[in-house]
């Protein structure tokens, strides 16, 4: 009897292990191992061909060279700005889908948000370039409307980068927001209205507190995607983009300085971790609650 239950328990554990195996393997081989290797890389310094000594030189370079940490801070601030803008734009969209659209209209609006993702990010970004470049559609339109004397270059500004980043991130904000707004009981909104609240008080006291995990989840995802985005800032920002991922790329590919690139990579990881932690503290959310919403 006892033996039978022991065997059954062992079987259950084996099944669980087998089911988890692919995920664990993936986590270990593709995330843990490379990061360990990168960590080792970042903490060494070449002293002679094929000769390395452990050192903090790579990190010291980052702080010693103003360009690096300027770009670093700039990337962080622009990413935070892009996240905030995405939230501002996505919230009314999500509200419309979750609360105002009836029946199939909601699904249709959702698909409209999804459609841009059917083409690759490169093509989408090139689309923006066609619209915004000096000889492109929008500058020509501005000239025809008489708003500008000659065609203006709309590419290669920080604002252009922001537009591209917000556009790319919108869906990742809309999805968790729709989820958390749909679960908000309409009678809570009516009750608040009935008890004397105006629209703003309902938003502040009822809707935002309820949607907070969804908002935080969307912000974390968008912030991380934006921070780690390479294509959009490079194509839309050109040489002026000064995005930190570009610096990492340059170190690895152009300068073949893997040690420096690895150190930059870890600094970016530290930055995103710090920002997520800060965001959770600021909004008073627990990580596990938020992750259930993503």
């Amino acid at each position: 009897m006892l033996e039978a239950t022991a065997t059954a328990a062992w079987h259950r554990r084996l099944m669980l292990g087998l089911l988890l195996a692919p995920a664990l393997l993936w986590l270990f081989a593709l995330i843990v191992l490379p990061h360990l290797d990168l960590a080792l890389l970042s903490f060494r310094e070449p002293v002679a061909p094929r000769k390395y000594v452990p050192s903090l030189a790579q990190y010291r370079t980052f702080f010693a060279e103003p360009l690096y940490w300027h770009v670093f801070m700039r990337t962080a601030i622009l990413s935070a700005l892009a996240t905030a803008l995405t939230l501002l734009i996505a919230f009314p969209v999500a509200w419309t889908i979750a609360k105002l659209a009836r029946g199939r209209m909601g699904a249709l609006l959702f698909v409209v948000c999804l459609i841009p993702f059917w083409v690759s990010e490169t093509v989408r970004t090139l689309g923006w370039m066609i619209l915004l470049r000096e000889s492109g559609v929008l500058p020509a339109l501005l000239v025809r409307l008489g708003l500008t004397n000659g065609p203006v270059e709309l590419l290669y500004h920080d604002a252009t980068i922001l537009v591209g980043l917000v556009y790319t991130s919108l869906l990742f904000m809309v999805v968790p927001l729709v989820g958390s707004l749909e679960s908000l009981d309409n009678s809570l909104i009516e009750a608040a209205y009935d008890l004397g609240s105006g629209g703003f008080a309902i938003l502040r006291k009822i809707v935002i507190p309820h949607a907070a995990p969804g908002i935080t989840a969307g912000c974390i995802v968008v912030f991380m995607l934006t921070l780690g985005n390479y294509l959009t800032p490079t194509l839309l920002g050109g040489k002026n983009s000064l995005w930190f991922t570009e610096q990492i790329y340059t170190q690895f590919i152009t300068r073949f300085n893997w040690e420096q690139g690895a150190a930059f990579g870890f600094l970016l990881l530290a930055l995103s971790t710090a920002m997520v932690w800060f965001g959770l503290k600021l909004s008073g959310q627990r990580f596990s609650d938020v992750m259930r919403r993503t």
């Binding site: 009981d185 009678s187 809570l188 009516e190 009750a191 608040a192 209205y193 009935d194 008890l195 004397g196 609240s197 105006g198 008080a201 006291k205 009822i206 507190p209 309820h210």
Partner: protein, 377 residues
Amino acid sequence: MAANSTAAARPDLEAHAVIKRFGHQVAVDAVSFSVARGSFFSILGPSGCGKTTLLRMIAGFIAPDGGDIRIGGRSMAGVAPNRRPVNMVFQHLALFPMMNVAENVAFGLARRAVPRAERTRKAEAMLERVGLAGAGLKRVDELSGGQRQRVAIARSLVLEPTLLLLDEPLGALDLKLREHMKIELKQLQSAFGTTFVYITHDQSEALVLSDHVGVMNRGHFEQLGTPQELYYAPATPFVAAFVGANNRMTGKASAVHGELVDVTTDAGWRIRARRIGTIGVGAAVEAFVRPEAATIGRTSAELAPLAGQVVHAGDVESLLFDGANSAVLVREAASRFEFRIALPQTGRYADLKVGERIAFSFDPERAACFAAPPAHA
């Protein structure tokens, strides 16, 4: 002082020919009524009768297509819900889960920019009045069903509304608690003296709680009256069937003697009932006899003291024991019509057996006969 006395005479809620259509369907069809200050008014009706729509129009969530709603003498046309002197207790209460009990109660006060200290004091006093002193710091989901109910009422009453609307708030509770909350609601209403407008599909809630009841069906009021009037003098067959238990028989009027009508039911049973409204000989009718209006006897001799009443014979079909509400289902001997009779509370007929032949009779004055309403499409 003069202004005060006119204010006391003025009803707190008046509806004049209020209409609401959804597409081609008329949800509320020119309903008019008024509710006196400090009274408990119920709107009773089956689901889909338009009572929720009517309540939501009073609260301001839906605008009527026609007619006028006046609260405290002031027309509510174009007044938003947050500007009306009305508060609502929602069907599922809609307590704010992101706030504790005290914050829930103080929510409306905060919207009126009442200073924090006064808010806290008022919320605490209100919680004490509803028997929840010291529960202010609890989370909403830590409360029992009955406590949540009281918080919902406290949250509304702390704003001292002219009118408190209640949208079937007892529906989600289990039977025992519902019975208890019924009594509690009535006590709260008389303690606060606020005018309550209560909607329900449960006739027992409406009868127990209300000073006046409007029975609603298909968008209009079938009857407005006290619970006693609805029960003992129903104005329409719908009210007779909906309010309280009733034996319903359809048939034809075979003879009319002044106030009394002889009815031959579809099953061929001949009974006598009091006429309500005009009924011609041969007209299709509906007759209603309350289970407690009938008297049961083992033999027709036992029913002899009830001189002048027709004695019917029947066989016991089944016994429905429910303590003081026990009843017996009887099949009338000739027509086999199933008739429900309440058993006397003395327990005298507790030993009836299924299949036993019994005698029963009822006072025709307590049986109601209506002309059958035209068939609905």
